[in-house]
Symmetry: C3
Subunit: 356 residues, 3 copies
Amino acid sequence: MDVQKAIVSKTKLGNFFEDFCLGMEIAHATPRTVSSGDQALYTALYGPRFALFSSDEFARSLGLERSPVDDFLAFHVVFGKTVSDISLNAIANLGYAEGIFGVPLYPGDTITTTSKVIGLKENSSGKTGVVYVRSTGCNQRGEEVLSYVRWVMVRKRSSGSPSPKTIVPDLKKVVSVEDFILPGKLTMSGFDNTLAGSSFRWDDYHVGEKIVHVDGVTIEEAEHQMATRLYQNTAKVHFNNHTESQGRFGKRLIYGGHVISLARSLSFNGMENAVKIMAINGGAHVAPTFAGDTIYAWSEILEKIDFPERNDLGALRVRLIAVKNNNCESTPLMDEDGRYHSDVVLDFDYTVLMPK
Amino acid sequence: MDVQKAIVSKTKLGNFFEDFCLGMEIAHATPRTVSSGDQALYTALYGPRFALFSSDEFARSLGLERSPVDDFLAFHVVFGKTVSDISLNAIANLGYAEGIFGVPLYPGDTITTTSKVIGLKENSSGKTGVVYVRSTGCNQRGEEVLSYVRWVMVRKRSSGSPSPKTIVPDLKKVVSVEDFILPGKLTMSGFDNTLAGSSFRWDDYHVGEKIVHVDGVTIEEAEHQMATRLYQNTAKVHFNNHTESQGRFGKRLIYGGHVISLARSLSFNGMENAVKIMAINGGAHVAPTFAGDTIYAWSEILEKIDFPERNDLGALRVRLIAVKNNNCESTPLMDEDGRYHSDVVLDFDYTVLMPK
Amino acid sequence: MDVQKAIVSKTKLGNFFEDFCLGMEIAHATPRTVSSGDQALYTALYGPRFALFSSDEFARSLGLERSPVDDFLAFHVVFGKTVSDISLNAIANLGYAEGIFGVPLYPGDTITTTSKVIGLKENSSGKTGVVYVRSTGCNQRGEEVLSYVRWVMVRKRSSGSPSPKTIVPDLKKVVSVEDFILPGKLTMSGFDNTLAGSSFRWDDYHVGEKIVHVDGVTIEEAEHQMATRLYQNTAKVHFNNHTESQGRFGKRLIYGGHVISLARSLSFNGMENAVKIMAINGGAHVAPTFAGDTIYAWSEILEKIDFPERNDLGALRVRLIAVKNNNCESTPLMDEDGRYHSDVVLDFDYTVLMPK
């Protein structure tokens, strides 16, 4: 019987809502050294063409030592670390805010992630609650690579357990310009439009402008599984068809971040010079995606940010929308009842640097 | 309305036949640093076993600094760059000629591609035309890695637009020996048959000899999509099942280069010592392939090329044929009417170095 | 006719039972330099989270120069080299024994494999026989990375050929402690439980303890094909649906090693600190797996090994069982008739280091 007890205790079943308390700090397992192999896989999985992440020579022309790995590869690796502690029993990944990219993540760098619980709110059902965490990924020198807040709906272990005091953090709707961390040596004064793929620069984009990114890509099971494992994200719903075929959707669910990366890569066509992401202002996976779905995307320019001391670059705040199995032109963002159109799967708000 | 105009102008829809003119030079976007990660993916996608590209030690035994990436990985990367400018509106990729491999492409090298329009011919329908381009990929030192001609059938924007003067370039049927670029330090005097996998060397092959490569490999959607994205090739027909399921074939079409790499990898069995490709003399994708197809291949020795000043190596001109879903032994190249047998998908003519 | 003869002789059809003789030594083709790209693919294919193989910094904290590639990636590469000489005509891969891991395999190292025939036994049918080989993979300095014995059932070319003398090697049931090769500089005195993912160390595990690893993963065709090609393993049954759909199982068969790696990766949940494999004591692929199958795993602690001179680490001998499409809790290892339960696919016995 001793042995049976050991079985229960060694295997992790993930935290439930009751296991979180305000201010709790979690150091996540498995630091991760990223490599040019990870970037190659990222390219194979999404087909990004932004020159900064594709060419060491181009990166050097902007003042960096070489190409960093893609911003969203960094995001997914940081996110992946948090899953087994934060969202293994999550029902839904509800939103993102206050995401700030710090120093670039280079091949050879090792990233370690920690999270802090910054909010808790039990749902009225008494069966679930919302957990807010700020997660931070640092490199081997302790420099912040990415910090962001996300909130997830997590199951309670027991509906009878007492409710925690409700604390909903006061999150900024938009990351402040003063919180941006511009890579020290980055300069766009020698930015080469031809190599980057477009002559449209910061001045050419207008608030309210909508850019439909033309192409669509169909997702295969092997692709999203390989991607999600690359990030060491172990959420069960992405991998186990034996149980998921009997589950909520009758099939495996695709990691929401996979759709972010597909949409960002599609956005190259029309936003070629949107090279380096500064901030994730917000984001929601508004509907699930499954293998076989075809993803399309459009962008809307929400804001133009000028840095008075920089005449080589500015920033754009962009709303990136992904739609499935439907033409972007014929898909409204919202239905008449004010809810997302049923084909919209992602509503993502980020800020990106662009040469002036 | 200003904003609406911006939408149209920022997104690229690719060039149409009218957009090309003779002598036009195009610098393609997104330089690409290749890495050992790309080579690992290439291995996972095709399973090549040629020792030169698999082992740094073997490469050093031939006088090189380390293993270059596979010749066809270099080809696909150069090709991929050209797609968004040349063949986004292509109906068919008709042929290749005058392909010359230059300096080896090593992990860490950055490749940049340019193309020049060298021929134009409108089709009698008035709806399409053939564009001939010479594309050249150079490394970060400006050294040519690969130069080749291809011609594609491209849609006209409007059947009413005027026809250009017909110019069909005079292309060599076979790359001349004097145009070969032998890697400077390459020597096969210490070539190890055992490590390479065969004792058959240049002297053992005969003009007219046909080598059936035994194995067959079935293609999966996830594989060809990952391959094609790795090369940053964005041709729509390979990725979008939402539209392609309503299109010409009712499904996604596989990038022709994927079949070249599969056939070349299959050719290891029987041509183990065919280590370094010198030239692509010609090639045609004679029928489309789709996920689920199983590819087989055979080679025919067309020519033996002796370099008088070299007693360590010679070259073979090889016709590499890929067939789908049919035994090579029972598949003739041509039907009785003189047209390709319906199961033949690739007819490719290349020249390769082999130890003497 | 000369030309036709050449066709037959150049293409390898693999060895048949008659082609092996006791003491025969085979140097396998295609040395292989492993890279961080291979490790990235390994991560994408299996999702391992053991810190030693994920983080260069963690590896350095244990005294190594950087992260080696995963132990089973080394195993698969060594195994893959042997296929075209040993098991191309195999009906079944029957077992493993006496597997000893030597020096760690680092990105940049080149592995070369040789095998020696150590046993032969014709089956009573006269149509097949069992071949026992010891295969050894060495790095570019000639240091052993892995040595192991496997035995396979191979077809005879002709049932009429004479039987060899039966020699069944006397294999150890368990690799002896004195045969272990502990990496010279490896120390676990500074082992960080938090980064590794668990506070359970060697002292916390008990002989007889069974750990059910909770999660299940569904295998896709593209995944096992990419994995098997990454290892340059060319066994036909894994790749050719054109013939396999007419074959024994009506579909492609998954490389048994793919299941070993999936099970080992699943075992992270409950055995997070089982960082470095010392030995493969035995193993059998007791039933075939196919795309669409979902793999689960459990471990049973068979033995605890204490190294008197080391107070930083010990070893555990572990029986790793993989099951398909069935809950581990409800799947017995053996049926009432003493045969493996029909859902059990792997019975694998290995020894692994763990911090004390």
